[in-house]
């Protein structure tokens, strides 16, 4: 059966260059980089080389990069560590309604610890308005955390303006850039932010590794205590193949992103237009322009997401949905709801996310299969009137 993977926002395959770069560090050069002997010191050098590559991708300094076990840990570290270390400034945190749970739930955890949390609304496109931040921010605001690009609908925020407002107020600004890095240009200096999270497996690096950028001078409490690795910011024996893989993936992105973006945007347009042409009663979600490449988020009225995913799976198409039925929660996607989409419609959401290896024929295949799937489910639906 033909397999078409259109779930690159969930995870991506490790690029062959990246896997090759990681390979020696599992068995041959497996040494602990904290060890003193020369073979281990060579691994240490490779770890530092990876740090440099990641720094280069973000236009940061190598010393500003702390490796973590992924995006979730980076987000937890930034929010818990940033808020706790700067408690003297105040106990107010601002975030947005469309954040990933790794940010949202972490803020809510801090709420239980006595922090006050303001969750900014978004408009119909999923955009946080600078005005709403300006209104919500106050002297006690320790930290503002707003995601760069949304994982479900792809909307990109005006981080530069938002960060400026935070800076003017003396508040730390963190951005969850897990869905931005690898897709759009990310420049921490230009953005003027204090912290940024990324996760390697979202851009052809391995799972289980990510990093937190922490601007020089910004105080953050470490989340994991122990062996003093990562300049005392992150304890634990370094995941050397992971780190080296992340470095190689960063380099890959630096070299290929622009060309990839162009190609992916074209295919994305093909897919959008094809859906519009072939299927009635669809609602595209996300910002019409400020969107990462490759994220097609669409709701099909009268039907539900999980059934769609399973029928697509039957034909080898892999995608995801913000329907509660496909997750373990009972509520439809908090992102779509925050954008004012009714629960009924949100249940019919489908996210098709393209990647570097997506081909025109993949898109054509989806456009062949999808109308039938939607029609089959609509035929079963009590909400649909033929």
């Amino acid at each position: 059966m033909k397999l078409v993977y259109l779930d690159h926002n969930a995870t991506t395959p490790v690029a062959s260059e990246v896997l090759e770069a990681m390979h020696p560090y599992f068995r041959e050069d497996f040494y602990n980089p904290s060890s003193i002997y020369s073979p281990a010191q060579k691994v240490r050098e490779k770890v530092e080389e990876a740090r440099l590559k990641v720094a280069r991708l973000l236009n940061a300094e190598p010393s500003e990069i702390v490796f973590t076990s992924g995006g979730t840990e980076a987000n937890n570290q930034a929010i818990i560590g940033g808020a706790r270390a700067n408690r003297k400034k105040g106990n107010h945190i601002i975030t947005s309604a469309i954040e990933h749970h790794a940010v949202l739930d972490t803020c809510l955890r801090l709420e239980k610890e006595g922090f006050e949390v303001t969750v900014l609304p978004v408009d119909q496109y999923g955009t946080v308005s600078p005005e709403s931040l300006q209104k919500a921010i106050k002297p006690e605001t320790v930290l503002v955390s707003i995601m760069y690009a949304n994982n479900e609908v792809g909307t990109v925020q005006d981080i530069k303006t938002l960060a400026h407002i935070a800076r003017q107020n003396g508040s730390l600004f963190h951005t969850d850039a897990v869905q931005a890095v690898g897709k759009i240009k990310v420049d921490v200096k230009e953005l003027g932010i204090d912290m940024l999270s990324l996760s390697a497996h979202k851009f052809y690096g391995p799972k289980g590794i990510g990093c937190l950028y922490i601007k020089k001078g910004v105080k953050v409490e470490s989340l994991l205590t122990g062996g003093g690795q990562e300049n005392k910011m992150r304890a634990g024996t370094e995941n050397t193949p992971g780190i080296i893989g992340l470095g190689r993936a960063a380099e890959f992105i630096l070299e290929n992103r622009e060309e990839m973006e162009k190609r992916i945007r074209e295919l994305e347009e093909l897919l959008r237009q094809g859906i519009k042409d072939r299927i009635p009663d669809v609602i595209f979600t996300g910002h019409p322009e400020n969107r990462v490449p490759g994220c097609v988020s669409v709701c099909f009225k009268y039907i539900e997401g999980e059934s769609m995913l399973l029928l697509l799976d039957q034909q080898g198409i892999m995608a995801s949905s913000g329907s509660a039925c496909s997750s373990k929660s009972l509520k439809a996607s908090h992102v779509l709801l925050a954008m004012g989409i009714t629960p009924e419609i949100a249940h019919g959401s489908l996210r098709l996310s393209l990647g570097k290896d997506t081909k025109r024929e993949d898109i054509e295949y989806v456009l062949e299969v999808l109308p039938g799937v939607v029609e089959k489910l609509r035929a079963m639906s009590p909400l649909y009137r033929r």
Partner: protein, 149 residues
């Protein structure tokens, strides 16, 4: 850490039995709520106190569709009293089990059926006493249709 669906669930989801509506249904039951992502509608035709025909329409996940399909198979031809005894658990068992997170939507099927039978019984009393048009009533019963944009 759930297992995915059983073979039976997938079979009933991919090839649902008795989809659609019964012409001049004698009883209609609809449960669920579009905002929760699941609506199940069961229509029955009753003859000699037996379920002569049964059809379903479902807006929901694969488990919801499969349980709807399964329950229609289980009760077709059964007497109303037998049909009423079908529990949600029985439907789930007939499907070889459902993942724990999906138990909530499997609850819909037996509920919809019970509601359809109750509707049939109520109409009999109503029509016996007041002679209302059954078809109109069945239609206006659907909250979902009103919600439809």
């Amino acid at each position: 850490m759930d297992k995915m669906y059983t073979r039976e669930v997938m079979d009933h989801f991919l090839n649902p039995r008795n989809v659609g509506s019964v012409e001049n249904a004698d009883g209609v039951g609809e449960v669920g709520n579009a905002s929760c992502g699941d609506i199940m509608r069961i229509e029955i035709k009753v003859e000699d106190d037996k379920i002569a025909d049964i059809k379903f329409q479902t807006f929901g996940c694969a488990a919801a569709i499969a349980t709807s399909s399964m329950i229609t198979e289980l009760v077709k031809g059964k007497t109303l009293t037998e049909a009423e005894k079908i529990t949600n658990k029985k439907v789930a068992e007939a499907l070889g089990g459902l993942p724990p997170v999906k138990m909530h939507c499997s609850n819909l099927a037996a509920d919809a059926l019970k509601k359809a039978i109750a509707d049939y019984r109520e109409r009999r009393i109503d029509s016996d006493s007041s002679g209302h048009n059954l078809f109109d009533r069945a239609d206006s019963d659907s909250k979902a249709f009103k919600d439809k944009p």
